[in-house]
């Protein structure tokens, strides 16, 4: 906007260059499924939905990287469709995949699969219904942030988009219902072994939720997928016997409310600076400073977790894993 051809050319090239490492990443993510037998659980559905949607969104981004095309499409609904395509496909779908995947580890019970699948399909179908028409609208000349419009050609596409919004709303409702149902049925959904997905990585070797010290003994990692290899060896009848576990005390950092209190004072300071309430701003800064001083002058920063407490917890977990 207002820049000459040289600047536009540089920005066009830089935008296209984004696609190169992104393409590498997409292949990385695809190849994580290589050699596996894919089970279409809720996290996997979200992950595949992410890869497909994010790639489409990225491609329309490269379309707009061409300066003459961008001259037409900048600040149109084509742009709006593109960035929602990448942030809903990328951020939201990825976030929900992670949420479903690691929820059992964090809270000790899995999420309901049925409602999870319903939520995914509503979100996925709803997203395409809501945002694909926006690409068309952008090409038909509709700009973003319009208070009212009077072009009848746009109306059918906007109605379709509205239907998509309703389907997404159903998806959000399904997410809430999933959480409610899972909490209600948490006794049946309890993650006893700490490994609900038969995972490959080391976090699944801890209890769900993990103890404050995470690992009772530092895992010895000599190859990729150490936990997977360890599980294979445990199943093999004539493998080497596992040595007895020797527990040591673990040094843990002490908890502190400093972050929370400082954040409170930061909010007060920010609010006061916006409205030029100088006394409140000074109070906020002073409060944050005093909190920092209290934290800095602590005498003990760590405490020691006793070996027998660790042993007690870990033996309990080992009993659950290999009954």
């Amino acid at each position: 906007m207002g820049a000459g051809a040289n600047v536009n050319a540089v920005f066009g090239v830089m935008t296209m260059v984004i696609a190169v490492p992104t393409g590498v990443k997409v292949f990385n993510w695809l190849f994580t499924m290589y050699g596996g037998r894919v089970r279409f659980t809720v996290p996997v559905l979200w992950s595949i939905g992410f890869m497909v949607t994010f790639v489409i969104g990225g491609m329309t981004g490269v379309l707009m990287a061409v300066p003459p095309a961008d001259f037409q499409l900048h600040n149109s609904l084509f742009l709006v469709a593109h960035f929602h395509n990448v942030i809903i496909g990328g951020v939201v779908f990825g976030l929900l995949a992670g949420f479903n995947y690691w929820f059992p580890k964090a809270f000790g019970f899995t999420l309901d699969e049925r409602w999870g699948k319903r939520a995914f399909w509503c979100w996925f179908i709803g997203f395409y219904l809501a945002f694909m028409p926006l690409y068309v609208l952008g090409l038909l000349g509709m700009t973003r942030r319009m208070q009212h419009y009077d072009n009848v050609d746009w109306q059918p596409w906007l109605v379709l988009a509205a239907v998509g919004v309703a389907v997404i709303l159903a998806g959000i409702v399904c997410q809430v219902v999933q959480l409610v149902v899972s909490i209600r049925d948490r006794a049946q959904l309890r993650d006893v072994t700490g490994d609900p997905w038969n995972g490959r990585t080391l976090e699944w070797s801890t209890a769900s939720p993990p103890p404050a010290w995470n690992f009772a003994l530092l895992p010895r990692v000599a190859e990729r997928d150490t936990y997977w290899v360890r599980k294979k060896l445990a199943h093999a009848k004539d493998g080497p016997p596992t040595p007895p576990r020797e527990y040591e005390p673990i040094e843990m950092p002490k908890n502190s409310a400093t972050g929370f209190v400082t954040a409170f004072f930061a909010v007060v300071t920010g609010f006061a600076l916006i409205w030029h309430i100088w006394w409140m701003a000074a109070l906020g800064v002073f409060g944050a400073f005093v909190t920092l001083l209290v934290f800095a002058f602590r005498d003990r920063e760590e405490f020691e977790m006793a070996a027998d407490k660790i042993a007690q917890f870990d033996r309990g977990h080992q009993a659950e894993v290999a009954p």
């Binding site: 010290w213 040591e248 002058f297």
Partner: protein, 210 residues
């Protein structure tokens, strides 16, 4: 012993290859993290520099740099900050060899030199505002006050930090975490002087040219 990110001491026996040596000592991890923060702070200053460079001619009929800047005052400020960087280095050496009296002495000298710098700068700002050369007068002055003022705020913050550190040395002695914090302070203080080199060159020396 289970470890998080860093360890207290390194083992003195022969270490295997770097990839098997385990986490680095806390002293290195903390200093490196602070170094990365300092670099991000310098990036923020570079944005203010860029804004200043773009707007240096936008004086809106008001006073220009050549009319406002006092070379003698800037020379004294530069000398003070450079000397304080030197005494900060000597303070670091005193901390390393656990000499308390020397630590306090060089810390006080560093503090005084930094305070003189700040006093001269505040006097300069007050003088400019008194004759109507306020940040609201022109884009040039807005960007000038933002850039030089931000550096001055960093110096003020550093002085407060230095005072708190001297209290910590008095109350806790040369504990490991106190030493790490003094180390980070030294990094901060040297970085501020580096920024001042760019500042006095671009703003005051180039600004005084016809």
């Amino acid at each position: 012993m289970n470890v998080a990110v860093a360890i207290h001491d390194i083992q003195r026996d022969a270490l295997p290859s770097a990839s098997e040596a385990g986490p680095a000592p806390k002293r290195i991890v903390v200093a490196y993290g602070f170094w990365i923060f300092l670099l991000s702070d310098i990036v923020m200053f570079s944005a203010l520099f860029a804004a200043y460079a773009v707007l240096v001619r936008a004086t809106a009929g008001g006073p220009t740099g050549a009319q406002l800047f006092n070379q003698v005052s800037v020379a004294i400020e530069t000398t003070c900050l450079l000397a304080s960087s030197y005494t900060c280095g000597l303070m670091s050496l005193a901390v390393g060899s656990r000499r308390r009296a020397a630590t306090y002495f060089f810390a006080v000298v560093t503090f005084v030199l930094g305070a003189v710098f700040l006093a001269l700068e505040i006097r300069e700002f007050a003088g400019m505002i008194a004759i109507g050369a306020t940040p609201q007068r022109s884009a040039f002055l807005s960007s000038f006050f933002a850039l030089v003022g931000c550096h001055g705020m960093h110096v003020a913050g550093g002085l407060i930090w230095l005072a708190v550190m001297m209290a910590q040395v008095a109350l806790k002695g040369f504990r490991a975490n106190v030493e790490r914090r003094l180390f980070c302070f030294a990094l901060f203080w040297h970085a501020l002087d580096i920024i001042w080199v760019a500042l006095f060159t671009v703003v005051y020396l180039m600004g005084a040219l016809p």
